[in-house]
Structures are given as C-alpha cells and as structure tokens.
C-alpha cells in the first residue's frame, strides 16, 4: 500500500518533469539549464535538405586525425559561406558525412565541398601559365576517376625531376601533367601583408610546417629562375618566378602588376588558403536531396497517422480489456511523453526510419501491457483476489517482457554500431529510437502499469469482474 502510493508519487513527479520538457513551457529557463533550445530536431527526410557522404579516393590511407581536421575545415568553410546549421561528422574509417538541412540547391552544397580546394605548389618549369587556367598535376592526377595509376605521394621526391616538363615542349601545354611539390596540408599559417609601396598591392605571407620547409627549400635551391605555380583545385592562382632559395619555408604570394591584390582579394585568398587547404581530396560517394514539399508532407502525414493510430488502439484496448485497458492507455501515453523527452534531451534526430523504430517500441509498450493483462485475467479466472492477481500476473509476465525487450535492445545496439560506422543514417536512426523506446517501455512496464493497476483494484474488491475486467 505505502510502496504503491510512493510509486504513484514518483510517477506523477516524472510526468510533471517530462511534460515540462516536452511542451514549450519555460522555454527560457530550459535554455539556461540545457544551453540549447529543447525543440525536436527533424531529420533531412522530414524537413528537406541534402545529405552527402564523402570519401577519400581509393588507395589513400588516411587516419582519423586527418579526417577530424578535414571535418573541422569543412565546417568553417560552410559557416564562412553563410550556410547555416551544417553538420559534418566522421563516419567510420574513411567517410565524412555532411548534412545541409533546408538546403536543396545542390550547387550551393557542392561549392562547400568540391570548391573547398586542394592547394598545391606545382613545378611548372619555365612554362608561364596564365592565372585562372586549369592544369593537370600528378597529385591524384586530376579529378577524373578514370586515372588511377599515377597517385604517388608528392612529398617524397623533392625537386629532382623538376626540369623535365619544360624540356618536352608539347604543342598543347595544358594537357601536360605537372608535378606537385607540396600540398596545402603542409601550411602552418597564413597572413595578409600590406603593400610595401603603393604599386605592389597586398600580399599573402605563408609559413610551412617543418617537413614542408625542407622540401620547399630543396626545390627552390634547384630551380632558381624557373617558376612555381600556386594552384587551388587545379586552377592556377599565380605562378611566381623563384629568385632565390627559400630556406625557412616562408614565402609570399602576390599578384603581378597590373593584376595586384586589393585588400579584399588578399583576405579572400587568405581564407581560401587557410580553410581551403584540405588535407585530403574528397570524392562524393553518396548524396541525397529531399525537397521541402516531400519532407513536410511526410511529417504531416506521420503526425496525423500517429494520432489516428493511437485513437484506434485506445478504443480496442478499452473495449477488450475494460478498466485495465484504460490503465494501458495511460501507461502508453506516459511512455510516449517520457520517450519524447529522452529524444529531446539526448538529442535524437527524428527521421522516417526513426519514427518506424519509435512505432515498433510503442508496439513493445503495448505488448508489455497485454502480457500483464492476459496473465492477470488468468489469475482472476483461477479465483484469486484482484490484488493477488495483479501481483501474480505481473510476476508471471515479467520474464517474457524482460527477455523479449532485452533481445531487441541487443539487436538495436548492434544495428546502431553498424549505422554509425558507415554513415548509414537510416539504420542508425531506426536503431537509436527503437533502443531508447524499448528501454523506456521496460521501465513503464516494470513501474507504471503495475502501480496504477494495483492502486485501482484496491478500491474495487466487490465489483462485477466481467464488466470491469472483460473476463
């Protein structure tokens, strides 16, 4: 008796807390406590947007650290372009997952990823290449997937074969593949320098990491009088002539008169060099775009479906199980409130597969009630009292509820692991909502149904059992 009342108080307290979390009360206070808005996060399939999975081209071994760094750069780049709420995350060993909510203009997205350039210093010998020209380099040998053989690491052969391209003066110089000396991954810092005299324009000063400095020093020593092209995404930015050896890995990029850099151009270039120097080149392995109309329609329909489904289930439960049916409806409603609060707190991104996972967990919550009621009725038929039947029914139903739900938790944990490792967001979303839902359903089955039913039958010892319990 006392234990049940205490349980009831705990349940009421929990319900108050989760209702406060679920509904838009005390928005400001909640924001202060949780440091963010407690509003549901909708997946791209429900609100429209783009999802992109990027990977480094085959044959490149990249470690986790490089991927993390790339992710960070991509995020800075997207923010710089004013694309809001973009999320990039590392998935598994060689994927980066990018999500662009609300954005359906594919070219915007590509701007962030594809144009997020790969910076290269290229040995062009004595060929002067006009800034803006696209050239081929041996680093990844262009972006066409057909060329696979010549992906050699550029840093290993400093300046030895440097003169070669200019000797073989082919009639179409732009078809030539030039050798990449260094890439953007070796940049340590960049800054803008004001013009030393008004005619010069602004310049960008760069400093290389030690390993880059050595290569650069060696190269400049062997190629005095020749040119080095600074290339972003295979497009030449400038190709200064090497006047002397550069031993300390520091240098200056400036335009040549009359194409000098204004302060704004210099700043842009600085940003591109800094954020644009991705440590790895990325290929788009998968992209998904959901238009806003389809997303909104799916969301509206799923909400309507949830309401109608719940009404039908309620009717069935009350007609079939009578009073316990009412208890089940209250329990499942509490289950729904708690689960939603958990989704908000974690926070869980709601997607269509996620909703499927949630619906399955609603099924589990209902099943836990049905199992208890069937056992409860069995005990009643054996002639036990109501209070005894509640306890015995629960005792008998519990092992099946526990084992079936734990098996589901195990399954979803494994699916979740798989989903996170592979950017398979469908599987991940499904597994996460299912696991959380089933865990909450274990709690409500263990705690809520039994407490409520136990308290109610205390008041009802001499009623017509067929009417109240559907015997």
């Amino acid at each position: 008796m006392n234990r049940r009342l205490l349980n009831l108080l705990i349940i009421i307290a929990i319900v108050i807390v989760v209702v406060l979390i679920d509904f838009p009360f005390l928005t400001q206070q909640k924001k202060d406590i949780f440091k963010r808005d407690l509003t549901p996060i909708l997946g791209l399939d429900l609100r429209g947007g783009m999802q992109v999975i990027m990977q480094a081209p085959a044959g490149f071994n990249i470690d986790q650290e490089v991927l993390q760094e790339t992710t960070k750069i991509l995020e800075d780049r997207a923010n710089g372009l004013g694309v809001s709420e973009v999320v990039f995350q590392v998935a598994g060993n060689n994927y980066i997952l990018g999500e662009f909510p609300g954005l359906t203009n594919t070219s915007e997205v590509i701007k962030v990823i594809k144009q997020t350039g790969l910076l290269e210093w290229v040995d062009v010998g004595t060929d002067y290449i006009q800034p803006g020209t696209t050239i081929k380099t041996d680093y990844l040998a262009g972006s066409s997937p057909s060329a696979t053989s010549s992906s050699q690491q550029p840093t290993s052969t400093p300046g030895i074969d440097s003169g070669a391209p200019s000797i073989l003066a082919t009639p179409q110089p732009l078809e030539k593949t030039y050798h990449t000396i260094l890439t953007g991954s070796t940049i340590a810092s960049v800054s803008v320098e004001p013009p030393t005299n008004p005619k010069d324009g602004y310049a960008i000063h760069f400093a290389l990491k030690p390993e880059g400095s050595t290569v650069f020093s060696e190269f400049t020593k062997n190629n005095i009088g020749k040119m080095v092209a600074i290339v972003l995404d295979k497009k030449v930015i400038s190709s200064p002539t090497i006047r002397s050896q550069i031993p300390n890995g520091e240098g200056v990029i400036s335009g040549s008169y009359p194409n000098i850099f204004t302060l704004e151009q210099a700043n842009n270039l600085k940003v591109t060099l800094h954020y644009g120097s991705l440590p790895v080149a990325l290929e788009i392995a998968e992209s998904r775009m959901i238009g806003p109309t389809l997303g909104q329609a799916s969301l509206d329909k799923s909400l309507l479906a949830a309401v109608i489904g719940f009404i039908i289930v309620s009717l069935f439960m009350i007609i079939y199980y009578r009073l316990p049916g009412m208890v089940a409806i209250i329990t499942v409603a509490i289950f729904g409130l708690i689960t939603f609060a958990v989704y908000l707190l974690i926070p869980v991104t709601l997607t269509l597969p996620g909703i499927a996972g949630f619906l399955l967990s609603v099924g589990s919550a209902l099943d836990a009630n049905i199992l208890q009621f069937e056992r409860f009725k069995e005990e009643l038929r054996k002639g036990r009292t109501l209070t005894q039947s509640v306890d015995l029914g629960w005792n008998r139903a519990w092992p099946s509820i526990r084992d079936s739900n734990l098996a589901t938790v195990i399954t979803s944990a494994i699916l979740f692991w798989f989903g996170s490792a592979f950017g398979a967001t469908i599987v991940k979303g499904f597994a996460l909502t299912l696991a959380l839902g089933v865990a909450v359903s274990l709690f409500t089955a263990l705690f809520v149904t039994r407490t409520l039913l136990g308290l109610i039958v205390l008041k009802l010892d001499n009623v017509d059992k067929s009417k109240w319990f559907g015997l």
Binding site: K301, L360, V427
Partner: protein, 310 residues
C-alpha cells in the same frame, strides 16, 4: 484443446508455398536491389497534369544526354504526376542538366522532390556491412536466449529455433519483395531495409514471448509429452499473440498507409506482411521446429510412411 502442433507439416508447407515463388523469381532475375545497395541515381519530380510527359519522352530525354539505362515509375496525385526516374550514377552537373532540360521541354515549374545518388563502391560496402550487422545481431540474440533459457533442457535449441523463425520471416519479406518487383516494379531500397529491420526486431520479440510460456510450463508439466506441453503453451499465449499482433500491426499499418507516396506504400505493405509473418512464425514455425527437434523427426522424413504424429 486446439491441436496446433498436430498440423505442423501443413504449416511448413504453407510457408514454403509463400517463400518458394519469390526465391524462384530471385534465382532467375536476381535481387531487385535499388541504388542504395547497387549504386546509381534516383530522381523524383512532380509536374502538373497537363504538362506531364509520357515515360517514353523522359527516357528519350535521358538517352539524348547519354544516359541509356533510365527506368521510370509514375504515380498520380490529385494535382500532378510524380515521376521516379532511376538510372546509373548522375553527378551534380548532370543532375542540374536533367532538371533544366525537363523544365525546358515540359513543365517549367516542376518540383524537385528528391535526388539521391550513390556510388557503387560505397553501396557495396554498406551492403556487406549490413549483412554482417544482421549476422552478428542474430548470433548475439541466439546467445542471449540460450542464456535466458539456461534453466530448462536444451536451452540452445530455443535460440536456434527463434532464429529459424526469424529466417522464415526474412525469407517471406524477401520473397514478397521479389514478387512486388516482378509485378509492380518495386525495388529493395533503404526503406525496404527499415521495414526488414522492424520485422527482425518484432519477430525475435514475439518468439521469445511464446517460448517464455514453454519455459514456464516446462518444469510444471514435466510429466506430459513435450509436444503436448508446447501445444498447451502456444494455446495459452494465443490471445496475447493475436492482440499484440492486432495492436502493433494496426498501429503501424494505419500510420504508414497514411504516410502516402509510392515508396512508403511499398514499405507499409512489406511491414504488414512481415509483422503478420512474425507472429505466424513464432506459433507455426519456431515452436513446431522445437518439437521436430525434440522428436528427431527427420529420421522418419525419408521413409515411405507419413511422419508419425505423437
């Protein structure tokens, strides 16, 4: 009392009747995998009725752009026509070109609903790992059931039989997918995978509930034959099985039927059949196999006379 187990070979035959046609179709045509598992692109657009072209016109437009493997699925809505166009992988430039050509030729106000593109390499690795994940999950569930049923004889069998019931449900769903592909142009995509995962989750849960009754009765009803005891347990949990099935399926069915859209309609059909199969298999496949195992009935399978019924 209802004798369910007596007709067990009838139920096995019934399931085979449902599974075999699908497997035959798969043996001939292969699995109807969508771009999610094969690589390729899918473009979904909506145009208003008056301006909507025929599928041949769209295929022609694709052919002109050098994409010769496009397939079109059409569905009508109240105001417009939705086209789902599948083809080999389109990159972003190609996609923009497709859209601008479609706008130019047919409806300048067409709505871009969806554009998915998946490279063959990533889809391959996702498929492999998905299969691996399901495999590991299956193994883990078997071990868990063996552990949970350790108190009664041959606990391991319960794990295996639950998994056999699960395999039955997966086969039913795959067979349905193959038949749907043959007659309605369905494809097994990521939503199909979601439905399959839901069925997997439901099926094990349901089998465990039925087995739990056997676990409970096993020490109490030690004196009656195993087959009778299992039959008794099934009948006892029958009401719960039916109600849970009604609840869960009704709920999901309504929810998903209302989602609408061609792809989601496929998903809800797969779910309804799969969940029904989940309940069916616990009662008519998984539990009967326990009995077949206990009686070692395979010894009589290849003799002339019919299997003995205990």
């Amino acid at each position: 009392m209802l004798n369910i187990l007596g007709k067990r070979y009838l139920f096995f035959a019934f399931s085979l009747l449902l599974i075999v046609p699908g497997l035959v179709i798969i043996a001939i045509n292969g699995l109807p995998l969508s771009i999610d598992f094969r690589g390729g692109s899918i473009v979904e657009i909506e145009m208003i009725k008056d301006k909507a072209p025929t599928s041949d016109q769209i295929i022609l437009l694709y052919n002109d752009m050098g994409i010769t493997d496009s397939q079109i699925q059409i569905s009508q809505t109240q105001t417009g026509v939705i086209f789902v166009i599948r083809s080999s992988t389109l990159d972003q430039d190609k996609y923009s070109q497709v859209i601008s050509n479609l706008k130019k030729e047919f409806d300048p106000n067409l709505v871009e609903r969806r554009f998915d593109t998946v490279s063959p390499a990533i889809s391959q690795s996702v498929t492999n790992r998905a299969a691996m994940a399901v495999g590991i999950a299956t193994l883990a569930v078997t071990l868990y059931i063996t552990f949970a049923f350790r108190g009664i004889p041959h606990a391991f069998r319960y794990g295996i039989c639950a998994i056999l019931g699960l395999v039955h449900d997966i086969l039913i769903v795959i067979s349905l997918g193959a038949i749907g592909c043959k007659f309605f142009g369905w494809q097994m995509d990521s939503l199909y995978l979601t439905a399959l995962l839901t069925v997997i989750g439901f099926s094990t849960q349901d089998s465990i509930v039925v087995f739990d009754r056997i676990r409970e009765n096993s020490p109490v009803l030690r004196n009656i034959p195993f087959e009778k005891m299992v039959n008794h347990s099934i009948v006892q949990s029958l009401q719960r099985s039916i109600n849970t099935q009604l609840m869960t399926v009704d709920y999901l069915l309504l929810a998903l039927a209302l989602f609408g859209g061609i792809t989601l309609r496929e998903m809800s059909v797969v779910l309804i059949v799969g969940l029904l199969s989940g309940t069916y298999s616990s009662i008519f496949i998984a539990a009967p196999i326990l009995v077949v195992w206990e009686n070692k009935e395979w010894k009589t399978w290849f003799r002339k006379n019919k299997p003995s019924q205990a």
